[in-house]
Structures are given as structure tokens and as C-alpha cells.
């Protein structure tokens, strides 16, 4: 296959090092055993940081090229060749993938640093860092691959790392169950992706991005819709979108840095990456695009509602993650106009949500790993650095100008509003609810009166933990503005999104209405949780609260729609197997055995009996011959 993309030269020719460095870290730590216990976490952090430095250098090299020449490809080797099909593994360094590389390696490295402090007393710290490195490697492979096969390998790799890290404390049954749940739900999505790959091979005869996108115009509408929906199913599984959202809340059983890195900043956004990367395919099918937007809108509301009712700080943040990814998916479903804001929001979200998760981890660290917000309160004076960094993240997520979330989220709201009024209203309502539940979280945790347990002695975290918080908080402040103001990011991504991007008017009517609703949300939260005392025991609440607390009955629906019928089917199969299949087989065997038992009596052991039967047979043969002849 002749590539139209320019070949990578110079430093970029070593782009494979981006994947290999963390992978080597994982291998050394896992294979090295206890010998690496003492320095393994430093090595892992160093390799992750090295990947960032390398990525940044490549980014710098990319900036040196002209706009259309920035995408560079690097062919690694032929993975498989069979008949007319050949699958090559290669790396595509373009504006989209380099954005992800920078996000993944930068946030990943910060979280490695944070984990040095957070996991300092864990007996299995080496294993933890090995898995973190494995995750970084797989995620980089996912975003760097120039074809769907490599993407799929990375996709499964991050799924594996996610499984291993959610179940890192596998001695806890809840963690083990959550890991299993995440794995199973992800499999559902992965099947969608596999089917999509199959459709591509069948339709286009290739899995390379360039070739697939080049042939899209020649394929029928139905195939494109099916392909888009299957890709969406894959994205839903990985990004915890409806209807495959149920695993993300349980995934909070994993260590907090994992929640920050995998289940907030990077892995769960892989679905958005997939949709944006496959933009050509989705643009070829209006139906698929509409479904993407609807899924995003539904998830952003569902996540927000769940976030309102959770007392577990991590689960509240997880609901918020769902909701924010819903925004991104919705934006990605809008087509080229939404891609830039989707990715910009993704990057901004990666910073502020990682910061808040790490902040939550810091709070938990202070509160003896208690996650119940009803037992927090008044922590802002005791944890000043955590509070300030967290507060910046909070301002960013609710979209207060000039913090980062304001620019990106407002971009999504504007785009949705102009595209479709209903979607626009959904995003605006979502923004209001976001303001409410994030304020609730802030007020319950850092304001009000202390509702601590008697033996709680909160204290600020060590520098190794709060330095990453500060860095991420800086990102929360400036990242959105840096990307969106002057349409810097839009211009940067233009060769990928293929749409000239114009800058928004951030203070249009829609923007102002949104801001007003955000303020109302904050005020309601202040009245409920800031001004009035928060009870230590959760009140019963209305049906809506119960609805949200039970994750919108997602688990119940899965259970009644999938699990119970599955169990019935299994029982039916077991019954049928025992009675039907085994009955026939056993009956047949018993019949043969019984008959043989009787027939074997013919074997008397007397050679003369055998001779007699032979002789009789010979007689019959002669008779038959004579009969035939006559």
C-alpha cells in the first residue's frame, strides 16, 4: 500500500519508543520481581516522564512543519499477510494523536509522581506501577496506531490494564467483582468494535485509516450506518456511555490514582477518540451520527443525575466523568463542527478531572480512606493546598470564566444549540445540574461543620502528592483558554477535522443563559448543603434521589434484562443437557452396553464353536452363489 502521508523523519522516526518505553517499564517491573521493589516506582515514573519528553519533542518537530505536512506516518512491520489481505502495523503522528500523546504522557507522569506518595505503604506498589506503565503503553499504542488493528490491540491493552487496576486490591470482594464487571461490560463494547473491524475488512479489504477513509464514499449507506453503530457500541463500552455505563461507578473500587488516570482522564475518553478518528465514517451516515449525539445527550444527563445523589466522593466524581464524556460524545456526534470542541473539552477535562480525583484521593488519604462525604466537612482549613487545587478544578468543570471548562464546554453548548435545539437544551440543563452536584460536593467536603469520625485526624498530604495537584490545577485554570482563545486548537486540528474553524462568541445569548443557570445551580446547592447542616446519615429523599442513588436502576435493568434471562437460559441448557442430550447419549451407551453384554456370550472360547459358525457361513455363501447362478 502506497501511503500518501509523508514518512516520519528525524526524531519522529523513533515514535515507536513512545510505546516501548512504558512497555519496557512494565516488563522490567513484572519480570524483575522483588529485586525491583525498591526502585521500580522511580523507574516507572522516569519512563513515563521520558515518554512525555519524547512526545513533546516530536510535537515541537511537528510544529516546525507546515499545516498539511504535519501528519507523519511510520511503518513498523507487516503484522499479517494472508491472500489479498495484509495488515501492517504503523504509527500515525498527526495533530490528533500528538494531542492525546501529550495528554496521556503528561497527566500519566503526574499521576505516577502522585502515586509514589499515595501508594507508599502498599505492599504491592511495584505491581501497581507496572500496571500503570502497561496502561500508558497500551493507551499510546491506541492513539498512535495508523490502523484499526493496532488501535484494537491498544484498546484491549487498556481494557486489561483497567481490569488489573480496578481489581488491584483483589482481596476486597467488591474490587474483584467491580473488575470483573468492568471486564464483562467492556467485552460487550469490544464485540461491537470487532464486528466493526470485520465489516471494514469485508467492505474495504483493509484496516488502515487511510485506505478505509479513502473508500468510504464508495460504500452503501446501510453498511456505513452499521459500521458507525458498531463503532459507537465499542466507544460506549470503553467510555461508559449509555447503555454500557454501569461499570464505571463500580470501577471506583480501584486505587484513586487509577480512577484519576484511567477512569477520568484518559482511557474512558478513548471512545471519543475513536469517534473523532472515524469521523469520515460517521459523516457518511446521518443515522449513526444522530445516534451518537443522542447517546451523548442521554449520558450527560444520566451521569449528572447520578452525580447529584452519591455520597461517595469518588462515585460522585465518576458520575460527573460520565456526564462530561457525554458532552464530548455529543459534540463528536455533531460532526466536524464538534470535533475540535470535543477534543478540547477532552483535554481540559483530562486536567481538571484528574486534578479533582487526585484531590479526592488526597482527602481520602487525610480521612483514613473514608469516602463518605457526609463524614467530611470543613476540610478547607486543614487541607489548604488540596482545597485550592480542587476548587480550581471545580470552577473549571462548572464552567466559570475564565477557567478552562468554560471555554470548552461553552463551545459544545453553542455547537449543539446551533445544530439542534433539543440537544442544546440538554447540554444547558446538564451544565446547570453539573453546577449543582459539583457545588454539593465542594460544600459537603470543604465547607460547613466537621462531621468527622472520632478517630479521624486529617492532615495535608506530602509534597510528592500535592505538587501534581498544583500542576493539574494550573492546567484547570489555563488549558481551556489556551486551547480555545483565538481558535488556536481549531487551527491546529484543522487538517484532521477538515473543517475551517471559527471562533465562538463566548458571551452569546446561549452562553449567558447557561452561566445564569450555573449560578442558580450553585445557589441551590449552597442553600441545601452550604447554609444548612448536612446530616451524617443520608435522608431517605424523594423517588428521584433513590432513582439516582441506584444509578438510574442501570444495574437492575441489566440484571433483569440480561442476567436473569441468561441464568434461565443457562439453567434450561443445563436441564436439556442433563435430560435430553445426556439421556440420549447415556441411553445409547446403556443400550449398546446391554446388547454387547448379551452378544459377548457368543464368545465361548471354544475354537470349535467359531469353526462351526465359519462353516455355516461358508455353506450360506455357497448357497447364495448357487441361487445367484441358477
Amino acid at each position: 500500500m502506497e501511503s500518501h502521508t509523508l514518512a516520519a523523519t528525524g526524531l519522529q522516526a523513533y515514535a515507536w519508543l513512545l510505546v516501548v518505553l512504558p512497555l519496557a517499564g512494565a516488563a522490567i517491573l513484572l519480570l524483575g520481581g522483588r529485586a525491583t521493589d525498591r526502585w521500580g516506582h522511580y523507574l516507572a515514573t522516569l519512563l513515563s516522564g521520558g515518554a512525555f519528553v519524547l512526545g513533546f519533542a516530536m510535537f515541537w518537530q511537528m510544529l516546525g512543519y507546515g499545516g498539511e505536512e504535519r501528519a507523519r506516518s511510520l511503518h513498523l512491520y507487516q503484522f499479517l499477510k494472508t491472500g489479498d489481505l495484509s495488515f501492517d502495523l504503523g504509527i500515525l503522528l498527526d495533530q490528533l494523536s500528538i494531542s492525546f500523546v501529550l495528554l496521556i504522557t503528561f497527566v500519566g507522569t503526574l499521576i505516577h509522581v502522585y502515586s509514589i506518595g499515595y501508594m507508599a505503604h502498599d505492599a504491592h506498589r511495584r505491581r501497581f506501577f507496572a500496571y500503570l506503565n502497561l496502561f500508558v503503553a497500551a493507551m499510546l499504542l491506541l492513539v498512535l496506531s495508523d490502523n484499526y488493528l493496532g488501535l484494537f490491540i491498544g484498546w484491549e491493552g487498556v481494557g486489561l490494564a483497567s481490569y488489573l487496576l480496578i481489581g488491584f486490591w483483589q482481596h476486597k470482594p467488591t474490587a474483584a467483582a467491580a473488575a470483573k464487571k468492568a471486564f464483562v461490560v467492556n467485552r460487550v463494547g469490544d464485540i461491537g468494535l470487532v464486528i466493526a473491524l470485520g465489516i471494514m475488512v469485508a467492505t474495504f479489504g483493509s484496516l488502515a485509516f487511510e485506505e478505509v477513509f479513502g473508500k468510504v464514499s464508495g460504500a452503501s449507506q446501510g453498511v456505513m450506518t452499521a459500521l458507525g453503530l458498531m463503532l459507537l457500541l465499542g466507544a460506549c463500552g470503553k467510555s461508559a456511555q449509555l447503555p454500557l455505563q454501569s461499570w464505571l461507578l463500580d470501577a471506583m473500587e480501584g486505587p484513586t490514582p487509577v480512577s484519576a488516570l484511567i477512569h477520568a482522564a484518559t482511557m474512558v475518553t478513548a471512545g471519543v477518540y475513536l469517534i473523532v478518528r472515524s469521523g469520515v465514517i460517521f459523516e457518511a451516515s446521518v443515522a449513526a451520527q444522530t445516534v451518537v449525539a443522542i447517546v451523548g445527550a442521554a449520558t450527560l444527563l444520566a451521569g449528572a443525575i447520578i452525580g447529584c445523589a452519591k455520597d461517595d466522593i469518588k462515585k460522585a466524581l465518576a458520575g460527573s466523568t460520565m456526564s462530561q464524556i457525554g458532552y464530548m460524545v455529543l459534540a463528536a456526534g455533531l460532526g466536524p463542527v464538534g470535533y475540535v470542541v470535543a477534543i478540547a473539552h477532552l483535554i481540559a477535562h483530562g486536567f481538571f478531572k484528574a486534578g479533582m480525583f487526585l484531590g479526592a484521593g488526597s482527602v481520602m488519604h487525610a480521612m483514613k480512606d473514608d469516602v463518605d462525604m457526609r463524614k467530611y466537612g470543613a476540610l478547607r482549613k486543614i487541607l489548604p493546598i488540596t482545597f485550592i487545587t480542587f476548587f480550581f478544578g471545580y470552577l473549571a468543570i462548572i464552567g466559570v470564566p475564565p477557567f478552562s471548562g468554560f471555554f470548552t464546554k461553552d463551545g459544545i453548548i453553542e455547537a449543539a444549540w446551533h445544530e439542534n435545539t433539543v440537544l442544546g437544551i440538554c447540554t444547558i440543563v446538564g451544565a446547570a445540574i453539573t453546577a449543582f452536584y459539583m457545588s454539593r460536593l465542594i460544600f459537603m467536603t470543604f465547607f460547613g461543620k466537621a462531621r468527622w469520625d472520632d478517630d479521624a485526624h486529617p492532615h495535608e498530604s506530602p509534597p510528592v502528592m500535592w505538587v501534581p495537584l498544583v500542576v493539574l490545577a494550573l492546567g484547570s485554570i489555563g488549558m481551556g483558554g489556551f486551547l480555545m482563545l483565538g481558535d488556536r486548537f481549531g487551527a491546529f486540528l484543522e487538517p484532521v477535522t477538515r473543517t475551517p474553524h471559527t471562533e465562538h462568541d463566548y458571551f452569546s445569548a446561549v452562553g449567558i443563559v447557561t452561566l445564569a443557570l450555573v449560578v442558580i445551580g450553585v445557589v441551590i446547592a449552597w442553600i441545601k448543603y452550604g447554609a444548612n447542616p448536612v446530616p451524617r446519615e443520608a435522608p431517605r429523599g424523594s423517588w428521584l434521589t433513590t432513582f439516582a442513588r441506584r444509578d438510574l436502576y442501570g444495574d437492575a435493568i441489566n440484571e433483569s434484562l440480561l442476567m436473569r434471562p441468561g441464568q434461565w437460559l443457562t439453567r434450561l441448557s443445563v436441564w436439556f443437557d442433563n435430560r435430553g442430550v445426556d439421556g440420549v447419549v447415556n441411553g445409547l451407551a446403556a443400550g449398546v452396553g446391554g446388547t454387547s453384554g448379551r452378544v459377548r456370550r457368543l464368545q465361548t472360547g471354544f475354537v470349535r464353536s467359531y469353526a462351526l459358525s465359519m462353516f455355516l457361513g461358508a455353506g450360506i455363501l455357497v448357497a447364495a452363489l448357487l441361487v445367484v447362478r441358477i
Partner: protein
């Protein structure tokens, strides 16, 4: 034709006798008759070579081998003719009658062309004709037959071979064994020693003139018949009287 009918009747009768005869030796001898009859029939049918081979190989070698094995197994082991497998005789008879009847009926009703006769084939002589075939068209089968015979010979040796469980006893061990047993260690005295008659039932006389019972076969002494009848050559003297006379003669020489 006369030859055929005579030989046919004799051979069928001998064959029937063979399967109904109780003693295996008689069966073997009756089989010999059948085989000789067949040899004659071969000769009648222009197969003199086969006739001779039949006599030499079958009647001479194979049948003698049978008799030899019968001797080893024991001539006295007569077959009990009572059938032990129920229905075996009945069904054997039915099957035999049916099979034989079918064959006879089949051959009887078949229409054969006139015999071509072997006059042409045996023009150079039967043996030469056979030799041309054996060393010509059938030479491979003939060579394979040699392998078969060698294999059979080896097989028979392997089957008949018996491993020694312990090393063969030496002369010394045998003589030690003999002395340890406490019985008479040397040869038993031969019958008729010092007697004037060397018949096997005449006991040897010991140097002191007494009769040695050891010199007589216990089978002969145990027969219980009158020894006087056996020795008509003693000139009207009974065996006991002859022994008396011998004893006297011995005592006289000692004095």
C-alpha cells in the same frame, strides 16, 4: 474309471473312519490310506510328480510327524467321544450335510466341457512341464515359499525351545545327590548274574548265593502269572527249581 470308483469308495470310507475312530493313531493311519488313494488318483489324472510328492511329503513326512507328536503327547490319550458343547454335533451334522449336499448338487448339475487332457502340456514330461512353470511364471512365489519354510522352521524351533530354569547339574552334583539319598548308590545288579540262565525274570545271585530282588523289574515280579509257563526252555524244571539249582552250584564253587 474302475480305478476311480475303487479309490473313491476306499478313500471316503477311510475318511469317515478317520473322524469316527476313537484312537488318534488309527485316525492317522486311516488318513494315510486316504492320502495314498489320493496319490493314486493324481497319478491317474496325469500328475505323476504330484502323486510322488504326495506319497513322499504327505504320507512320508507330514504324517510321520503327526505320529511322532502323537507319541510325544501320549498314544494312550484317547478322545472321549462325549460331546461337551451343546448342539455342536447336531449343528455340525446339519452344516456338513448342507454344505456337502450343496457342493455335490452344484458339481453334479454343472455342465463341464470335455477334458482337454494334459497330453499337450505333458509332452516333454510332467516334471519338465511343472519345472518350466515353477521356475518361470511362478518363480517369485517359489522363492517366497522358501522364506516361508525357513520362517516355519525357525518358528517351530522357537516354540519347542524350553529355557532352563537352573544350570545343568554336573556329574559331581549328581553323584553327591545319589549318595545323600541313602539308597543304593551304584548300579542295580543285572538280572541273571551268576545264574545259568540270562532271562530278565531270572534274579541275579549275590556273592553269598542269596537272591537279589533288586535285579528284577518290579513290573515283572508283580504280574502274578505263573513263571513256570514262561520258561519252557528250562527243560521241564520250574523257575523256582532252577533258581534252587543255581544256588546249590554257587555254594559248591565257594566251598
Amino acid at each position: 474309471m474302475v480305478t476311480f470308483w475303487i479309490l473313491a469308495v476306499v478313500s471316503v470310507a477311510a475318511a469317515l473312519g478317520m473322524i469316527f475312530q476313537k484312537k488318534a493313531v488309527y485316525s492317522a493311519l486311516l488318513l494315510a490310506i486316504v492320502m495314498l488313494c489320493l496319490a493314486a488318483l493324481y497319478a491317474v489324472q496325469d500328475a505323476p510328480f504330484l502323486a510322488l510328492v504326495q506319497v513322499i511329503v504327505y504320507t512320508g513326512a507330514v504324517l510321520m510327524l503327526f505320529l511322532f507328536v502323537l507319541m510325544l503327547v501320549g498314544v494312550s490319550t484317547t478322545d472321549s467321544l462325549v460331546e461337551t458343547i451343546s448342539g455342536q454335533r447336531l449343528w455340525a451334522g446339519i452344516a456338513g450335510l448342507g454344505f456337502g449336499g450343496l457342493l455335490v448338487f452344484g458339481f453334479g448339475s454343472a455342465v463341464f466341457s470335455e477334458d482337454v487332457g494334459l497330453a499337450a502340456a505333458n509332452a516333454e514330461g510332467n516334471v519338465v512341464g511343472l519345472a518350466r512353470l515353477i521356475f518361470g511364471r511362478y518363480v517369485f512365489a517359489f522363492e517366497v515359499t522358501s522364506a516361508l519354510l525357513i520362517t516355519a522352521a525357525l518358528g517351530a524351533m522357537v516354540l519347542a525351545h524350553k529355557e532352563r530354569a537352573r544350570p545343568k547339574a554336573t556329574q559331581r552334583e549328581l553323584s553327591e545327590e545319589r549318595f545323600k539319598s541313602g539308597t543304593h548308590p551304584g548300579n542295580l545288579p543285572a538280572s541273571g548274574t551268576y545264574a545259568r540262565h540270562n532271562a530278565v525274570d531270572m534274579p541275579a545271585l549275590l556273592p553269598d548265593g542269596s537272591v537279589s530282588e533288586l535285579s528284577l523289574n518290579p513290573v515283572l515280579t508283580g504280574r502274578g502269572d505263573d513263571p513256570a509257563e514262561r520258561h519252557t526252555d528250562l527243560g521241564g524244571v520250574s523257575e523256582a527249581e532252577a533258581i534252587e539249582e543255581d544256588l546249590k552250584a554257587v555254594q559248591e564253587t565257594q566251598q
